[in-house]
Symmetry: C3
Subunit: 367 residues, 3 copies
């Protein structure tokens, strides 16, 4: 539960391997830091003083790691390298976005521990990457707009927390999805930021093309599934991202791999075109759902793993539904299937005691 | 209030005729059973033991009855016959769907009384029928997907309860609408489950055709309005469903008839094409709204009957709005107009003391 | 905080100029009247007695003023004149709509002080105007439908208050947007109310046309920005509306002008076509956001002014996004960008202590 809104009296169950807890200390340090003093960065005592540069840098890297719910400096560093491997612009957008979001949250007076944990950075990271992908990273207008978007997503993050917090639900990447989808839908209405002529709007089309998968498709799809979490299509970027997961937590990496496989299997069984599996679009939501439901916001155990894999399958099936809903308006799918599926499965979890889901303090589960 | 989330301390006001309360006993038995021991099925003592086969069968039939908010074994049985009259596949989908949903909820550890009352079955029933109607009932892929959908809708039901329960609102058929709409929108993206070539997506079209109604149109439309609740278009199926309502509660049947008439009158007054009234699409949401607002979740009295008929008219007018919103993505309307209208009217009811709506315990009605 | 849901124990901070508080007394009288006895109208003692004709008339004019969050009889009167300048039908629709909404709320037993403050009138005013604009004001069917819509929007207002109140959020013009958008989307499906042949549905189009602005465009756009709040395009109507704001509160007028300028500057910077700036569509949401965030629902001070201007810019950028989402279904934008942006910024405000936003009693801001 490393990135969940840690409620008083809850036991934290960080899913990282035990080795990290004992050895590195930075995960546990900052999670428990929410309830009390500072973390591994050395800041003790009161929460009022601003972040020192080194702390800020750590918060930014953790913010990159939080895209996969891992407040890990090391994972964030590897993710940064992976993005740079997709293109130096993307590495820059991701890093600058995380920094701007983290800084904006701190300036606005957001909770210091949330900032330290990187919880104010990952939505900004994705927003910057999303705008770069949709509007083109090399336009100056895109850079300016991404800057503004990283500030706005900080406000949206606070709003999402205000609305979902009382329900015991995390905001996940909902702020990113809202901000990036709104910007992508609005962009063709503004001539100085839209440089592509036509809009992306089109009626949804039925799937075409072969459904048979070769080993090459499987391998590429599996690795690209990790890359698409950061909106990158390249398989070698995905390989680096998987490495980052492994560095932070072997258990999280295993869960992510299982989620990815569940997503790909679901897509194949339902008859998704092979091209859509091989490019990673069938797997990235499944990876995120699995990470969130097994170890992220529910304890990691057998029952939640099964629940997480069902969720991964549902998110994969829901992918084309989101695409069909947004296609006529010209909005990309982003991580909407992950967000919606995970919120439903987390909200439902308190009703099913056999799942072993912890019940939140005031969780009202009638209905 | 037979299917409302029964809050502690509330007085239950089941809308069934008094004869049922005194004679049959199964409605009251199981509603009050929520607060204490088992029900008419004979299960006393602790709530832990699993459902016995006969209890499970009763829960499944009640689940079919709950589509019209009636936890009635007899109504469920008649509804089952009516679906079979629409086609044996539909009878099978409806019954199997209710059974799978009821069983899945029990396996996941959902509240025993909710399961006994059929509250975990009716959304699954409709989901199975909805997928059969959209994807074609005779494909093996449809049967498998309906099976999976009935499991998923159980999770969605728990999530909806978690979100709406604290607001004092029931989840109605929202879980069915969400699951079936998502599946219908996603289906054309998967080749093994979509066998129709093109998608259903199309821009909304203005109404055409004559608006004058003959007696034959009126009679067919009235009866088909009941059938469309279960997504069936045949008037004789509707006649059987009305019989089922009568068997369970004469008052509920009368309210349903008035709601149907209010819906048809609204559609005619606004100028809906006669064809859309004669096929029942103008009435089914109105029937459900009337049942929910007069006797279902508000006490049955003159003021709520008037309120319910206004709601029935609003749901009928809202029908083409939902159709226009979903048409570009290829989603059928299902019972969205009923769900949205009823939630608005129930949420509003606590603010209007003159309506005689009971105020829920912690119902915060500021704003 | 003149139109906010006044929670017990909160200090009211009406943003009108001090002159109004000392001199006129009607603003403060009726705001504080929420907690105790009647207001300036003279009704003392218990809240049970009905509104006298003169009180009702004042409530209706205040309802017109509440479109800009000003419970001012004088502003409402000027707004009424402004609408009549746009066309006598619009003056009539606006006034009759406010009266019907106010009366319907009183009949249904809504809170007397809410009714006196005009809080039950402004959404009905806009609904009547919105239906007149979309369906044509001179059709008898439009007048009847507007009448019905003003009753329905009262129910939707109560529902929105029930859902948003516990979160400490006002319902703004959300009830109007929901009701008018649903009616506009549904209308082409009914032949007796739709007299225009084709639907308004169309795929979103990229912006075209020059982006350079002349002084004439700027002046017209600035004034029309006020007019578009009431769905009128004429600059002279906007001039009268600005006069109404000035009459009610010089501070509110100044904030509105700054918001308008921020919106127009944002639209120009992003490259909106000059035609879309000159007709006021770039400014009206920005005006409303600024009024709501600086003085309306947050205290008026430097920090909230900056926050409000950021919100005004965001709402302006979000405008084409809403348009793109609704275009395929044929729904006009109405004030959706204002509503969505303001709800997000208000929900976020409690998390940022440096903004100086007051924290609501039980505002849970985790997440």
């Amino acid at each position: 539960m490393y990135s969940a809104p840690v409620l008083p009296g809850e036991t934290c169950v960080p899913p990282g391997g035990q080795g990290h807890h004992a050895g590195g200390g930075w995960i546990v340090g900052h999670v428990t830091g929410t309830a009390g003093a500072g973390g591994a960065g050395g800041a003790g005592g009161d929460a009022v003083p601003p972040l020192r540069p080194r702390e800020f840098a750590a918060a930014v890297l953790r913010g990159q790691g939080q895209v996969t719910f891992l407040p890990s400096v090391a994972a964030g560093g590897v993710f940064c390298l992976a993005l740079t491997a997709a293109g130096w612009e993307y590495g820059l957008y991701g890093l600058a976005g995380t920094a701007v979001g983290t800084g904006a949250a701190r300036l606005l007076g957001a909770d210091r521990d949330r900032v330290s944990l990187g919880l104010e950075g990952f939505n900004a990271c994705l927003t910057a990457l999303g705008l770069a992908a949709v509007l083109g990273p090399r336009h100056f207008s895109t850079a300016l707009l991404a800057l503004a978007g990283c500030g706005v997503v900080t406000v949206v993050t606070a709003a999402a927390g205000h609305l979902l917090g009382p329900l015991g639900l995390p905001s996940l990447t909902l702020p990113f999805c809202l901000t990036a989808s709104a910007t992508a839908a609005a962009a063709p209405g503004f001539r100085r930021i839209w440089h592509q002529g036509e809009t992306l709007a089109a009626p949804p089309r039925p799937a075409t093309g072969p459904t048979g998968l070769g080993p090459d498709d499987l391998a590429r799809g599996f690795l690209s599934g990790f890359a698409e979490i950061f909106l990158a299509p390249q398989w070698h970027v995905g390989a680096l991202l998987l490495l980052g997961l492994l560095v932070a937590s072997r258990r999280a990496a295993a869960v992510a791999c299982l989620g990815n496989a569940a997503g790909m299997a679901t897509a194949w069984a339902l008859g998704a075109p092979a091209a859509g599996i091989a490019d990673g679009t069938a797997g990235y939501n499944a990876v995120l759902v699995a990470l969130a439901l097994c170890g992220g916001f529910l304890p990691a155990r057998a029952a939640t793993l099964a629940y997480a894999l069902v969720g991964a399958a549902v998110a994969t099936a829901a992918g084309p539904a989101v695409a069909a809903l947004l296609a006529p308006s010209g909005g990309p799918v982003f991580t909407w299937p992950f967000v919606l599926t995970t919120l439903v499965f987390l909200a439902a979890a308190t009703s099913f005691p056999r799942l072993g889901a912890h019940r939140r303090g005031a969780g009202p589960a009638v209905g």
